[in-house]
Every structure is written in C-alpha cells, then in structure tokens.
C-alpha cells in the first residue's frame, strides 16, 4: 500500500515524539489501514505487554507488614547507605567512606548502620557509624549535628569511646569511632538479664567516670542506656559511646521509622517532659541502667513508648530491695539516689556517683557451690559425707570474717603459676603457659574471651578458692569458630562457668554437632565443678581422649549435647555427680579410625541427674568388634530415650545394641515417661521408639534382674526464665507405692 509510514515514523508515533499534526495524520491513516495497525502493535510490543498485565499480579497488594519488618531490622537503612558506598580496590573490603576502608557491617538498627573499618593512614581498626538519612532532616539540622559532634571529638577518656572524625558522604553524616572489640551491655543483658551486683557496680563506676569527663567539657550524653555501654573484651574496660546523638533526633518520634529520641526506659523525667536538661539527666539514666542490670528488668516499663514515658515522669519504680531482697543495701541506696525524679535531690555529679560505686563495702561472699551441694543432696540422694566434703571445701573461704581492711581483693586475672605472670585473658595465659603448667583464675569475671587454642601443651586451668570465674565469648552472633576452647593435649579444667550464648544463626543440620564450647582432643580431659552452658545448637564438651572424667558439673545444652565423647578403643569415661540438661546428655561415638583399638571401652555413670529432653546415650555401632561396658549406678534418668542406636529400621536396633554393649546397672531411677531404646535414623534425623516400653522389658532385654532400679514419675520444677542457670530442681519422684526412698524431696519449699 502506498502512503504507509515507515517503521521509524510508527515508533516515533508510539513514543509520542512526532509533531501533533504529523501524529494526527498518522492516526487517520490507522483508522483504515489494518496492516499499519499490526505494524504499530508489533513495533511497540502491545500484545506482549497487554498479556503480561492480563496475568495475575504476583504476591499480595498489601506490603505494609513486610515494609515494617524491613525497617525495624535495619535492612532499609543498610540499603540506603551500604549501597551508596563508593568502591574500593582493597581485597576483602566492601567499600570506602572518605579515607576509611569499610570491611563489614557489625550492627544496624533504626538509627543507622555500624561498620568495622580500617583507617589505612594509621592502619588502625575503626568503627564507622553511618546515620540514617531519616534522622537528618534538612541541611541546617545536619550542620548543627556536625558542630555538636566535633565538640565531642575533642574528648578522650579511658571510659569513653573516642570519636576520631566526623564527615559526610552524599549528604549522609558518619562518625569514625574507636573500634571496641566486645559487646554492649545490652547484648550482655540479653544473654544474662541479671548481673552480679559487683559487676553492675564496676560497670556503673566506669560509666560514671566517663560521664564525669564529658560533663567537665560541657557535653551531656542524653542517651545513657545499656546499648551505649560497651564492654571491651581485651581490657575488660567499660566505654560509653554515642555522645550527643540523641540530640540529633531532637526528642521527636520519627514517623514511620519507629525511632524515639533518647530511649524512654532510661530517660530522665525532665527529658521525658521535654523540658530543659543538664548533666544530671545522665545520672538518672545511669541509675536506670544500674537498676536494669541488677534487677533483671528496667525500672519503668509499659506497652508503648508513650506509656513508658508516663511512668518515667509520674511513677515511682518498684524499690530495688523489693525486687531482689538479696541485693546489698548500699547498692540499692545509690540507685535510689540516682533515680530521684527531682534533679536537685539526685546524686549531683558523675564524679560523686563514681566515688560511691567504687567505694562499695566488701560484703561476705555466699558459698559458691551451694547449688551443687543442694543438687547432690536433693537430686541424687547421695550420702551426706560427699555433700559435706564438698561444702566444706568450698564454703571455707566464704565464712572467713571479712572487713574492708582484710579483704583486699586479689587482682582479677589469669596467673600462670610457674612464672607468676598475670594475664587479662585466658587466651593470653594459655599462649604464654608451657606444657604441664597450671593457670589459676582469680576473680569472678565475667571474662570476655576470644577463641582459645592450645596446641602441644597439657594445661590445668582452675579457679582459685573463693573465685567462681565466668567466661563468655567476646564475639557473639555468628558461628565464627566451630570450637571455642580447643586443645590437642591433656586438659584439666576446674571451677569455671563457661557460657556460650544462643545464636539466631543456626548451623546447617549436618554441622550441628561440630560446634563445641570445649573441644578437647588430648589423651586426658578432666572437668570438675564446672558449669558449661551452650545456648547454641552445639555441644558443651567434645572429648576425644582415652581418659575422660567429669565430676560435679552442670551442663546445659538446650539445643544440643552435654558431653560428646569420641572414644578410641580401650578408653574410659567416668561421669559422676553431674547434672545434664538439654536435648542429649551424653553422646558417644567412635573416634577417628587411626585412634581405634579393639579393646573394650568402659563407661561409668554414677550419681548423675540426666534431665535431658531426649537421648542421653547414643552408641554408634560403627565398629562392631569393640565392646562398650556400661556401669550405671544411682542415676536419675528423666528423658525420653535411654539408648539410641542408628539403624535403618527399629527392629535392627535391639540386636545391634545387644551385640555392642555389656550392660550393668544398679539403683537407677527411670522416668516412667521415657522410652528405653530407640532407633535413630541419621538422615533425616528421626527418633523411633522401640517396643521396649518399661523397666521390665529393659531388664528382660539385658537378661538382668534384681538391679534395684525403679521406674517412677519424675517431675522437675520449671526454671524461672530469668533465673539464670541453676540446676533443675526435682519436684517429685514417686512410683505406685509412693515416693521412692532416697529420692524424695520432702521439703520442696526449702530447696533453693
């Protein structure tokens, strides 16, 4: 057809690029020309686009839920900042801000994102805090903030995080701060809501010193709260961070971000009322922090920020001494004086608060191992001699009369006994120690530790009498290291509490048990009077040695295993007077092939409480020629499974176990709810109870009789969620004829 437009003309018509007259003329042409209509449709893809839009819309129309979640988890802020980082050539780094090379994100929230960075000019690690564009408002507000922050940069103090520099990139301000390896008090409290009062006082004293230095320069913090109190893992020092940032957000709720200026739970009444504040506002907040750490909950609480602010202004908090009557009076009195609503009635200066907290009277210590003695007497029905021996041993330092003069505390730390040298971390002490050395731990800590790796030297690590050191990982969060304390040599560890916190990041299923708090691959391992808590899906202790002894210890592995023994042939494991909680208590498998001997393996279990939810002994029939001799006496077994043996079918389980195990037992108590034998399907994990349902079946299975063991209803009292890690308390052990002799808890109320 003549007069038809070119492709280019039709494209320009579709793109609305033709002059109006030309377009009108083509439009008239299209009234009649079918061919050009089809050409236009094809050139502008009308059919395909129409079809796409005719299809269903993916996903829901309402996204507010997802948007909220992405705001509150900090993803939005990161997107807006991290994606804007200019590129860097440095390998292993994700971007650059000014001169600072950015290595990785270490935290984020509604206010911004924190990165670990490197200042290449000084080759020092720094923390870079990039503030959310939301908080900034206009250029004037930004300038004001920058001026304030530059004033804070002039402050250097051992208890204040140093602000090295402040700058902006693409209109987004960021702070370059001293890098503190460790965790914040908020993270610490998330794991352990209630801290010992000595720790709270020490932390409070150091925060107050930092505040005093800032106040002397006219700087008010305005947002003293646990998240801004950093605990340095290297030195143990406390450092206060984020000076003046609260002022940036000006006391308003930032619509749509959910950030409230200052933090209501720790805000002073004058700040909550929006009135003028002076340095004493920080002292009130310090009081609220101390209250929270000592009581396990903040002084003011409510369903909404508004409700909390109302409480802060109007309500008196519940007296600290009522919340926990065991708190010392001197401490409660300092906190009360800090929490005075009227600034004029408060402790007036930070220096005074520091003096009060540092000059705390030394109080007699409570017996350290009271819980253990109680557990033994109550839970295990042991003869009194052992309990007495234990309590004598451990109570002696506690009953010494203590006066401030005579009770000069031994400096805390780790001493290598052979050299007398003192170290601030187990890591450093273990590095310095020689084969056969003893490391003594003084003080209760908590010691924030990096990974400890011991190679080629046998060590004994023990708490000195009167100390109950608590060891925590300096790094939290991801599974950075599979094993926290690793040794390839002999190890004895005594009187220590080691807690590995829970992690939201779970390892893949097959890696679940390859993570251990203590990973001891030497020939000998001894664990005495320790408490090992493993909040992660992992193992408290993995032992690979020929001689493993566990005594008087408490294992909590809520999502894993208490003790996993990977034994060579001919080895022995003794577990006595210990308490196990978690998914599985004792897990046995054969060690690496080269360590295998065909000699029988001996397992002695005596006077333990197995309060594990699931399996308490696995036996892998991987090496059928090795026999495992079990001697089990006076244990309380409250769990669903006595033995697990991995097989394909349930009916295979029983003969495979009987071919492997020589069983002898006496005077055990089995929880009636449990099963006696289970098959384990390894992949996917499944536990299949066998037909052995009762003690009678079990005895028949082993052809044993007159063992003295009984079945009973066993009940433990639930542990209060905030009570920390005390061993489980028995509430009831009874069978059809009444309470089981020797196991009865006659005075439930007296058990503590």
């Amino acid at each position: 057809m003549t007069g038809c437009p070119s492709d280019s003309a039709l494209r320009r018509l579709g793109a609305d690029e033709l002059p109006a007259a030309a377009a009108r003329s083509l439009e008239q042409h299209l009234d009649d020309c079918d061919r050009c209509r089809a050409r236009l449709d094809a050139l502008t893809d009308v059919i395909a686009v129409g079809a796409a839009l005719g299809g269903p819309r993916p996903g829901p129309a309402d996204l507010s839920h997802v948007l909220d979640r992405l705001r509150s988890d900090g993803t939005e802020v990161t997107a807006r900042v991290a994606w804007g980082l200019p590129a860097t050539d440095r390998p292993g780094f994700i971007g650059r801000l000014g001169v600072i090379e950015i290595r990785r994100e270490i935290g984020r929230g509604g206010m911004g994102v924190v990165y670990e960075g490197l200042d290449p000019t000084l080759n020092r690690p720094v923390a870079v805090k990039v503030l959310s564009p939301h908080l900034l408002g206009d250029a004037a507000a930004r300038e004001r903030f920058l001026r304030e922050a530059r004033a804070a940069a002039a402050l250097t103090h051992e208890h204040v995080v140093t602000l090295h520099a402040i700058d902006q990139h693409a209109g987004v301000p960021y702070l370059v701060l001293q890098y503190v390896a460790g965790e914040s008090l908020a993270e610490r409290l998330a794991r352990e809501p209630k801290l010992p009062v000595a720790d709270v006082a020490r932390i409070g004293g150091q925060v107050a010193r930092g505040l005093a230095a800032a106040h002397a320069r006219g700087l008010i913090h305005r947002d003293v709260k646990p998240a801004n109190v950093l605990l340095d893992a290297e030195t143990g020092a406390v450092r206060l961070t984020d000076f003046g940032l609260a002022k940036l957000v000006g006391g308003e709720t930032i619509t749509g971000v959910g950030v409230v200026a200052g933090t209501p739970a720790y805000m002073s009444p004058e700040q909550a009322a929006g009135g003028a504040v002076d340095a004493r506002t920080d002292l009130f907040s310090l009081g609220a922090v101390l209250y929270t750490a000592a009581a396990g909950k903040p002084p003011f609480d409510g369903d909404s920020p508004h409700a909390v602010l109302f409480q802060v202004r109007e309500a008196a908090p519940r007296a600290l001494a009522d919340v926990d009557p065991t708190l010392p009076a001197w401490f409660c009195s300092i906190v009360d004086r800090l929490l005075e609503k009227d600034p004029a009635r408060r402790v007036q200066t930070a220096a005074e608060a520091a003096d009060l907290l540092e000059r705390r009277p030394v109080t007699p210590k409570r017996p350290r191992y009271a819980w253990l003695a109680t557990a033994i007497v109550i839970a295990l029905g042991l003869i009194a001699v052992i309990a007495l021996a234990l309590s004598n041993r451990d109570a002696s330092p506690a009953v010494e009369p203590s006066t401030p003069e005579s009770n000069v505390p031994v400096p805390a730390g780790f001493v290598v006994v052979a050299t007398g040298n003192r170290y601030t971390s187990l890591w450093a002490a273990a590095k310095a120690a020689a084969d056969g050395d003893t490391i003594e731990i003084h003080g209760d800590g908590p010691y924030l530790e990096r990974r400890v790796e011991i190679r080629g030297k046998g060590l004994r690590i023990r708490a000195v009498p009167g100390s109950r050191p608590r060891i925590r990982p300096a790094q939290t969060g991801k599974f950075v290291e599979p094993h926290w304390i690793h040794t390839d040599s002999d190890l004895t560890i005594e009187g220590v509490e080691i807690h590995w916190p829970a992690s939201a990041d779970r390892p893949a299923l097959d890696a679940l048990f390859n993570h251990a708090v203590v990973h001891a691959m030497g020939n000998q391992l001894t664990v005495r009077r320790c408490q090992i808590v493993c909040g992660k899906p992992a193992v408290c202790v993995v032992a690979g040695g020929e001689r493993v002894e566990i005594e008087d210890s408490h294992f909590v592995a809520d999502d894993g295993v208490g003790v996993w023994w990977r034994s060579p042939g001919g080895a022995s494991l003794k577990v006595g007077r210990s308490v196990f909680e978690g998914t599985a208590a004792v897990f046995h498998s054969f060690g690496p092939a080269e360590a295998q001997k065909t000699d029988p393996i001996a397992v002695t279990l005596a006077d333990n409480t197995f309060a594990a939810k699931g399996v308490w002994a696995f036996v892998y029939p991987a090496v059928p020629k090795v026999t495992v001799r079990f001697d089990s006496r006076r244990n309380l077994v409250s769990g669903n499974y006595l033995f697990g043996t991995p097989t394909r079918t349930t009916s295979d389980a029983a003969p495979s176990l009987r071919g492997l195990v020589v069983w002898s037992e006496a005077d055990n108590v089995y929880d009636r709810k449990g099963n006696f034998l289970a098959a384990i399907r390894a992949n996917p994990w499944m536990i299949i109870p066998s037909e052995l349902k009762s003690l009678a079946d079990w005895n028949l299975f082993w052809k044993s009789d007159a063992t003295g063991s009984v079945e009973a209803d066993v009940r433990f009292r639930a542990r209060p969620p905030a009570a920390g890690y005390a061993p489980p308390r028995l509430e009831r052990v009874e069978n059809a004829s009444g309470p089981v002799p020797g196991w009865v808890e006659s005075s439930a109320g007296a058990v503590n």
């Binding site: 439009e27 502008t44 009308v46 686009v49």
Partner: protein, 193 residues
C-alpha cells in the same frame, strides 16, 4: 534512548529516598509469591522474603560492582531459592512442622521449570509495577483505550465508539501507553526483561 538510571543504580544514591520503597514494592511481592508457590505458608513466605531482601542488601554492593555476575533477576532467584533451602534444612526433622517443611524440600521443582516460573513472575512483577507508575501520566481516555483493548482484549472499534475516539486514536493510545510502560520497566530493572 532512556536517560533515567536503573533502580539498582538509583538505590545507591542515599539521597534518593524513594528508590528503596520502589525496590521493595517490586521485589517483595515477587518473593512472597515465589515462597507461596513453593508451598510455604504465609508467615514463612514473609520470613523468606524478609531474609532474602536482607541478604540482597548485605551483598548488593559487591553485586553492583561486579556486573560480570549476570542479571539481577538471576541473582535474586539464587538468593531466594537458597533461602528456602536453608529454611527447609533448618527445620527438617526437628520437631513440630518438620513434615510440612520436608514436603517443601522434597517438592523442590525441576530447576529449569522453577527458573522459568521465576522469570515469568519477575517480568509480571515489573510490568505491573511499571503500569502502576505510569498510570497517572495519562489523562483522558488514553489509559482506558489501552487497558480495554490490549489487556482485556475488547474490540478496538467498539472501545473507540464507547470512548468517543477514532479507531486510529485507540491504536495510537495503546502504543503510547505500552511504550511508556516498557520504558519504565527498563528504568526499574536495567535489564531488558
């Protein structure tokens, strides 16, 4: 051709506050739809969407600088699929819900078909979002002329009569809307889907 930077470039400018909202509006429904198609319940699909977008954000700087790694569409697919696998593994055989989750795992579809479905939905998500965005730019009967004939499939001559337009004007209207939508899709995605 088009002068606007793609969404992935825009989002790198912290001053462009709308880029992130736009990003979530396109990709969150896509991820939610994918999770549901893979048999997840609503709450689990929302978890997957949240986690995947977090991972995108965490890894995006590296991705953006490394164009050799392929299309954003393919990368996002890999992240989403891995997230579902991780989710299924995490709960597999571990108590309540285990069997449901195993069903999802076992039901992992043929990879090629899964990818095809993803590409199709990705395209749909972009076109729908682009259409939302250009809709206010058209006044008068232009949008209706496009929607009724190209999307709903009504006869152009009948629609022209109903809207008081010439038939030629309906064809011009729908080609203009289509061109704008395609332009918008390019602006959002960078890649030509």
């Amino acid at each position: 051709m088009h002068t606007r930077a793609s969404l992935l470039c825009r989002i790198r400018d912290p001053r462009d506050a709308r880029a992130w909202d736009e990003f979530v509006r396109i990709y969150a429904p896509l991820l939610l739809g994918y999770g549901r198609r893979r048999g997840l319940q609503e709450a689990d699909a929302a978890d997957i969407a949240q986690d995947t977008l977090r991972n995108v954000v965490r890894a995006a700087p590296g991705f953006v600088y490394d164009q050799a790694r392929g299309s954003f569409r393919g990368w996002l697919f890999t992240l989403a699929r891995n997230q579902i696998r991780k989710f299924a593994t995490r709960f597999d055989g571990r108590g309540a819900g285990g069997s449901d989750v195993r069903r999802v795992l076992e039901a992992e579809p043929d990879p090629a078909a899964d990818r095809d479905d993803w590409d199709r939905e990705y395209r749909l998500a972009l076109f729908h979002r682009a259409a939302d965005r250009v809709r206010p730019d058209f006044r008068g009967p232009t949008w209706d002329a496009f929607w009724r004939t190209a999307v709903d499939g009504e006869d152009p001559a009948a629609v022209a009569a109903a809207l008081g337009l010439s038939t030629g004007a309906v064809y011009v209207a729908r080609s203009r809307v289509t061109s704008r939508i395609r332009q918008e899709v390019r602006a959002l995605d960078g890649d030509e889907p």
